[in-house]
Symmetry: C2
Subunit: 205 residues, 2 copies
DNA sequence: TTTTTTACATTCAAAAGTGTATGGATAAAG
DNA sequence: CTTTATCCATACACTTTTGAATGTAAAAAA
C-alpha cells in the first residue's frame, strides 16, 4: 500500500473514529469488531492497528474528542455580574451545556459512554460517569452555597440538598434525552425544567 | 449424567440465574460466556442449554424475576385516605420503591440492565428503560393532576412540568445510586430529596 | 417392572475475532 | 538523488465462543 501524506493519514484516523462512533451507536461497543469499523471507513484492520494499539485505545481516543466539565461551562460564561446571581449562573451553564450536547458528536459519544458500552479492558465507563457526576455536584454546591449566603435560596432549603436535587434532575434528564433525542430538544425541554426548578428553589422576594 | 428431581432441576435453574447475575455484574453481559456462568454455578454449558435457549433467553428470564412498575407500588399502599393526599401517595410510593431496590436481587438486576449491558440479540435495554420511565412519568402525572385539582400544588407549577421534574430527579437518583450503592442508602438519601422536592412543589397553605 | 423422558455432561465442528508478521509503494528526510 | 520511515493491505496462527450432536444414569410414567 502506498504511503499517505501526513494530512491524509490524519484524515483516515478521524474517519476511523467516526466509523467507530457509527458502529458503536448501532451495535454497541462489545458487539462491533475492529474489522467492522475498518470496513465502514472503507479500510482494513491494518489501518486500525496502525493508528491505535487496540480497541480500548481507539475507544479512549474517541472520548478525548468530547470532554466537557461543568466548571468550564461556567467559566466560559465570563460575566462578572453573575457573582451576585449564582442561580442565574447555574441556569446559563446548564443552557450552554445543553447546546453542546445537541451537537451530534457530543451527543453520540456521550450516548455511547452511557448507554452503549460495558466495562472492558482498562476502560470503566462507570467510574467516568462517577467523575462527571461528582464534578457537577461539587460545582453546583459551590453556587448554591453562594446563593444561600446572598439569601437567594428558600430558607427551608439546605444548599447541599439543593445541589443533590439539581444534579439528580440534570442527570435524569440527560439520560432520558440520550435514550430518545429524536423525540424532543434537550435545549427547550431542559430550559423549562431547569427554570421552574430554580424558581421553586429561589427565595420569594 | 444422572437425572435430577423436579425440585432439584428448578434449583439448578435458579442457581444458573444467580450465577449469571454474579458474572454480569462483575464482567458485564457481553464479556461473560455461557461457560463462565455454568462453571460459576458448578455445572457445564449443557445445563445452560437445557434450561435456556441461549444467552438472550437466559437474560430475559433473569429480568422476569424483578419487574416493578410504579403503579403497582401505589396500589400496594392500599390506603383510601390517600385519594385526598396525592403528593403523600407519591412520596410513599417512592419510599416503598426505594425499599425494594435495596433488596440485593432487585438492585443487582437493575444495575445490570442499566449499567452493565449493551443491546444484543433481541434484547434492547434502552427500550426497556424507556418503558419504565414512561410508565413512571404517566403515573406521576396522574397524581400531580389530582394535586392540582385539590389546590395542593403551587399555582405557578404546571402538573406536567412537575411530573417531568420528579421523574428526571428520580431517574437521576436511581442511576447515581446504582453506580455506587455502597456509599449511601437510597432509602435515606432518597427520602430527603423526595421530601424536600415535594415540599418545594406543594402549595404553601 | 419395563419403558420412556428428563437433566444434565461431554464432544465436535464451525465461525468469529484478535494480534502479529510481512510486504509494498511512496512521502519525507538527508 | 538515495535512503529511510511511514501508511496501510494482506496473510497467518491462535484463542474464544457458540450451537448442535451424542451419551447416560436416574426419575417418572406405563
Amino acid at each position: 500500500m502506498a504511503r499517505k501524506t501526513k494530512a491524509e493519514a490524519a484524515a483516515t484516523r478521524e474517519a476511523l473514529l467516526n466509523a467507530a462512533e457509527d458502529m458503536f451507536i448501532e451495535h454497541g461497543v462489545a458487539r462491533t469488531s475492529l474489522d467492522q469499523i475498518a470496513r465502514h471507513a472503507g479500510m482494513t484492520r491494518g489501518a486500525v492497528y496502525w493508528h491505535f494499539k487496540n480497541k480500548a485505545d481507539l475507544f479512549h481516543a474517541m472520548l478525548q474528542r468530547v470532554r466537557l466539565p461543568f466548571e468550564d461551562l461556567v467559566e466560559e460564561l465570563d460575566d462578572p455580574t453573575l457573582d451576585q446571581k449564582p442561580l442565574e449562573a447555574v441556569r446559563l451553564a446548564c443552557m450552554s451545556g445543553f447546546s453542546r450536547l445537541e451537537q451530534p458528536r457530543y451527543r453520540r459519544v456521550h450516548s455511547i459512554l452511557i448507554h452503549h458500552c460495558e466495562i472492558f479492558g482498562d476502560i470503566d465507563p462507570l467510574s467516568m460517569q462517577n467523575e462527571m457526576s461528582e464534578d457537577t455536584c461539587s460545582a453546583l454546591l459551590k453556587y448554591f452555597n453562594m446563593a444561600a449566603k446572598l439569601n437567594q435560596l428558600r430558607p427551608c432549603l439546605a444548599p447541599d440538598i439543593a445541589a443533590q436535587i439539581m444534579q439528580a434532575m440534570l442527570g435524569g434528564l440527560f439520560h432520558d434525552w440520550l435514550r430518545n433525542h429524536e423525540h424532543y430538544s434537550i435545549h427547550d425541554e431542559g430550559a423549562r425544567l431547569v427554570e421552574t426548578q430554580l424558581a421553586l428553589m429561589q427565595h420569594a422576594p
